[in-house]
Symmetry: C2
Subunit: 115 residues, 2 copies
């Protein structure tokens, strides 16, 4: 009668995760479980054209360039973003398949499923 019909529909709430899926997903979630990395990810994803220059990202934080580079490397190693050097700067994009996998883990479907 209350919110139970909503919680039943999230993929995470439909069947138990396998050990190997849980291990994979935990690696990606560890990469995003940091305020700076979350903000970097959202800045890259919301940038015009879906691509952000490391120069723009660094300017947005009160952190050194090496610190930002470290955080970007963590996101890249986890397979969440890709980077391409063009001239002086590296340009970053979200890897949609990886981010979708995280979203699909938590996002409920539109239709309620009875318990």
């Amino acid at each position: 009668m209350t919110a139970v019909t909503i919680q039943c529909c999230a993929p995470i709430a439909r069947e138990p995760l396998s050990e190997s899926d849980a291990a994979d997903l935990a690696v990606m979630l560890k990469a995003v479980a940091d305020p700076v990395r979350l903000r970097l990810l959202s800045m890259i994803g919301s940038h015009a054209g879906g691509e952000a220059c490391v120069c723009d990202l660094t300017d947005a934080f009160d952190l050194t360039a090496p610190t930002i580079s470290h955080h970007l490397k963590v996101l890249r190693t986890a397979g969440l973003i890709s980077g391409e050097r063009r001239g002086t700067w590296v340009y970053y994009r979200i890897i949609p398949e990886a981010v979708n996998r995280l979203g699909a883990l938590f996002t409920p479907l539109a239709e309620p499923v009875s318990a």
Copy 2:
């Protein structure tokens, strides 16, 4: 006038996260960024009626009861599950609003952004 109403519902990909939202979300993500806790969350959510007894959860792992209790406490402290003692056992449920918030974070990021 057209797709703006859809884009408005995809906050992270359309505008960068604020510092305070990023800090809140990072706390929740740290709680789920662990293979055992991800599996616990999916077991609770997929259990009949959306509720799981701690006794069933403990049996599913090759871990001690205190270790499982620790992981459940982390999920509970992060606001992702609630627990209710009835008789001998504690019964856990997913808190849909919290899980939905994580889903809403990632799903829009994977969508194409117009230049």
